[in-house]
């Protein structure tokens, strides 16, 4: 094992000595370590943290783990009586599935090289017994998610568990950093650095617009000095071959399901070895999976994968995929990031890609060899999506990345972290403040805001000062903040995590009619128990059902039987007519960049010939009958229809912004005397209807568009609306959940009454807070 071979990463780095098993493994495979893999290893060996930016298929994962594997291989064999070391390397991914997948892919070379390295995953799905064992007997490499790291850090023995940590490998860093989970992770890193001051980070990322944001994020910042990690950039990758589906079927005017295209998609599946079909929502996944099976005359193995399915079912699909046993998988973003699949040779993307970066990611799934072009087909579900797909396609060729900027750390996550740190050990405000502001996204945090956050955790904030039960931490005479009771730590661990999901219920299959009973009756154990749990579904959707209604779930038509405690009982229904499950998750607005491209395309008639004839004809009609929206103009049309008068505008700014706009415009129209009745917002346009003729009012200058659309609507009108709106109360609850103000789960209490509101009565008045 002492035999080594000098390797040169490049002229500027010192020679590296790769341990013999590695050299032999590369040689056996007929591979050469890639330059960036060796460069990263060399920087790691010199004690530096590094950001590696590389396209899919460049061997990023191996590059990220190489320093850890090499270091572990060199480590002395533990002698009897030696204290077992803590975790050596943490690998953090944004997705549970990714962590599991990496384990599979990492075990292969580790086994082949016969390395003495113990690798384990820890996610929300890990059984309690295994978690306990991991704490007493930590693996060398722990593959996990940001939430789990925060949870581990909230334990008393965190300093011992993480005391031997050398590397933190952060996968898909560009995606991790922009969310609240990223904020939580940044704070966790700051804590890890306190335990291990010379801790090294390795960030793996796709191409980003501002690499320096990530480089700052990876290392500890000094009060008045900016620090950056090292940077390795790998250029290129073959350009993907992307087309928009060309079929003879009529492209729908609206809707998001793209049913019309399934015969063509099925043909494409037949022509390829393995096809990944990405969709934007779970209901889309359910419906299209069903449609494909309805026309699956050759009985091809086609599977379904989305986040609401039971975990064992997901694993089954993932394993079958790895063995190349499937011809197609219909999947949502649960499969999105960096997962290394078998030999996928086609990616089909249904619906609008809602952002060019996401499209690039997904297409990266096909053909993981960097030097071969990936193949993808975009399937727009309606005419506006044709425009979006074309724009996304252009963007992908440009290699444009429109992931949101990293931004500043959020305060609710900060509150959650403060409580977590108090659960781990008492702290002084000065020390914790210094630790937190060493993270690049919290360097600008004012001390005053931090102190308010600490007091907020302590007394629940101004609004709840009188509620003693919310006093979670208290300041002692010794200047240390500590939790007021051990149960606080227990509650924290149950509630931690920044992904706040809508209330969900497990779905259990039972015999038909078995669930028909009223709530509150004693359980009819014999008929109700023993059925299989199929997955989870949102309470909000179930509230719209009455027993006997059918809906599509896990590719099957289910009959709603009733709700019992925190489970939803269903039976298998005959036939194919079903309501479609509604999920609050997965509705992304179109990104600013893509909207801009669509507007440009509409304004530029010379681009229209690239679109399908139906769509360019439609644009031609619009130009003839009205005017074209797009460019830097905002078109507002008014027309009568039936008993109503309509105002339609085309901002192309995404559904969320449009809904806000509609709501504020309606307030103004009401004041102007137009008697608005209602509105509807899509990703592309808004429509408001009224009793009075808005067109005539505008022509007679009784009302002015400039005033209606003036920027000051975001002042008083917005504030007034925020104070009274339901949406705001709901968001308040979400933030309060993250900040630990409300318990999502309380030990011993199951707060799962269907139909209970979003708010506890004592939190119903956020306006005066």
């Amino acid at each position: 094992m002492t035999e080594t071979l000098p390797l040169f990463a490049d002229q500027t780095t010192p020679p590296l000595h790769l341990p013999a098993p590695f050299v032999r493994w590369f040689a056996d495979k007929g591979w050469q370590p890639r330059a960036h893999q060796l460069e990263l290893l060399s920087k790691a060996e010199s004690g530096l943290s590094t950001l590696l930016i590389a396209p899919t298929g460049a061997g990023k994962t191996l590059a990220g783990f190489l320093p850890a594997l090499v270091d572990l291989e060199r480590r002395e064999k533990p002698k009897p009586g030696m204290i077992k070391p803590g975790v050596h390397t943490l690998y953090i991914s944004p997705l549970k599935a990714l962590a599991v997948d990496i384990e599979r892919n990492l075990m292969k070379p580790v086994d082949e090289m016969d390395l003495r390295v113990r690798i384990e995953t820890r996610t929300g799905d890990t059984p309690q017994a295994k978690r306990q064992r991991q704490k007493t007997h930590p693996p060398d490499i722990l593959l996990t998610t940001p939430e789990q790291v925060s949870l581990l850090l909230s334990h008393k023995d965190a300093s011992r568990f993480f005391g031997d940590l050398r590397y933190v490998v952060l996968d898909e860093l560009h995606s991790l950093v922009t969310s609240k989970r990223g904020h939580l992770l940044a704070l966790a890193l700051a804590r890890l650095r306190r335990y291990v001051p010379d801790l090294q980070t390795i960030g793996l990322s796709a191409t980003v617009a501002e690499p320096d944001d990530l480089r700052r994020w990876l290392v500890a910042q000094e009060p008045h000095e900016e620090r950056l990690s090292e940077l390795i950039e790998v250029a290129g990758g073959a350009k993907p071959n992307i087309t928009i589906l060309k079929g003879d079927n009529r492209i729908p005017w609206s809707g998001h399901f793209a049913r019309y295209a399934m015969p063509d998609v099925y043909e494409a599946i037949k022509e390829h070895q393995t096809t990944l079909i990405f969709v934007n929502t779970r209901s889309q996944a359910e419906l299209l999976f069903q449609e494909l099976w309805a026309i699956n005359e050759d009985s091809l193995p086609i599977a379904l994968h989305h986040g609401s399915l039971d975990v064992s079912q997901r694993r089954k699909v993932e394993q079958a995929m790895g063995k190349n046993a499937l011809r197609a998988v219909v999947a949502t973003s649960t499969l999105d990031l960096g997962i290394d699949w078998g030999d996928v040779d086609l990616v089909v993307h249904v619906g609008s890609p809602k952002g060019a970066s996401r499209l690039a990611q997904r297409i990266g799934r096909a053909n993981h060899r960097m030097d071969e072009a990936s193949k993808a087909i975009l399937v727009p579900a309606n005419r506006f999506e044709v425009l979006e797909c074309q724009a996304a396609l252009d963007a992908n060729y440009l290699g444009f990345q429109d992931t949101p900027p990293v931004g500043e750390g959020s305060l609710d996550v900060l509150c959650q972290h403060i409580l977590g740190m108090a659960c781990s050990e008492p702290f002084t405000a000065d020390e914790l403040f210094a630790e937190i502001t060493s993270s690049s996204i919290y360097t600008a945090l004012p001390r005053e805001t931090f102190d308010r956050a600490v007091h907020f955790v302590s007394n629940g904030g101004y609004a709840l000062q009188s509620y003693e039960r919310y006093a979670k931490i208290r300041l002692g005479k010794d200047g240390l903040w500590r939790i007021s009771h051990p149960s606080v730590a227990q509650q924290y661990r149950l509630n931690a995590g920044t992904i706040i999901e809508a209330p969900v219920l497990a779905i259990r299959a039972v015999r038909k009619g078995a669930g028909r009973m009223k709530r509150g009756e004693p359980a009819q154990a014999a008929t109700m128990r023993g059925g299989r749990v199929l997955g989870k579904i949102e309470e909000l959707f179930l509230e719209t059902l009455t027993p006997g209604d059918t809906f599509l779930f896990a590719g099957k038509v289910l009959r709603f039987e009733g709700i019992r405690e925190n489970e939803c009982y269903v039976s298998y229904a005959e036939g194919s007519e079903a309501k479609i499950p509604y999920y609050a998750g997965g509705k992304f607005p179109t990104t600013t960049f893509l909207s801009g491209e669509v507007r440009k395309m509409l304004a530029d008639e010379t681009q229209w010939h690239r679109l399908p004839k139906q769509v360019s004809d439609w644009l031609g009609y619009q130009k003839w009958k009205s005017v074209m929206p797009g460019g830097d103009k905002l078109l507002v049309e008014t027309f009568p229809r039936g008993e109503r008068y309509y105002m339609v505008a085309y901002p192309f700014e995404g559904r969320l912004a449009h809904q806000t706009l509609c709501m504020l415009l309606t307030r103004r129209l009401e004041r102007a005397g137009a008697q608005p009745i209602g509105y509807v917002a899509s990703d592309y346009a808004i429509s408001i209807w009224s009793r009075k003729d808005m067109g005539a009012m505008l022509s007679r200058e009784q009302m002015s568009l400039t005033e209606l659309f003036s920027q000051d609507m975001l002042g008083d009108d917005l504030e007034a609306w925020l104070d009274e709106s339901f949406v705001f109360k709901r968001t308040f609850r979400y933030c309060a959940l993250i900040a630990g103000l409300i318990e999502k789960r309380h030990p011993g209490k199951e707060n799962r009454t269907p139909g209970h509101g979003f708010l506890r009565p004592d939190l119903r008045c956020p306006a005066h807070a």
Binding site: K625, L634, V648, G678, L698
Partner: protein
């Protein structure tokens, strides 16, 4: 509450994006008063009736009476010959 307002504005309400729009459009609003629905308006009109509509004080009239019929809308917007057979 600071966190909530910030989130509501950036998340559910996308206020920043709306602000960018409103900042961009002064002097660029084009009003077209039409006798009937335009071709471009067909998709958003089809959304009516699919979801409930919020309004402050109009009572039961808040819901559009029925979903729009696609062929009717297309015929009105683009003329008789433009109606396609599915």
């Amino acid at each position: 509450m600071q966190a909530t307002r910030h989130d509501a504005r950036s998340g559910l309400l996308d206020v920043e994006r709306l602000n960018d729009l409103l900042a961009r459009i002064p002097g660029r609003i084009v009003h077209k008063n039409l006798e009937r629905i335009s071709p471009m308006a067909v998709p958003v009109m089809l959304e009516i009736g699919k979801e409930p509509v919020l309004s402050s004080n109009t009572g039961d009239d808040m819901m559009a009476e029925h979903a729009m019929n696609v062929d009717d809308l297309v015929r009105e917007a683009m003329g008789e010959d433009a109606v396609e057979t599915p």
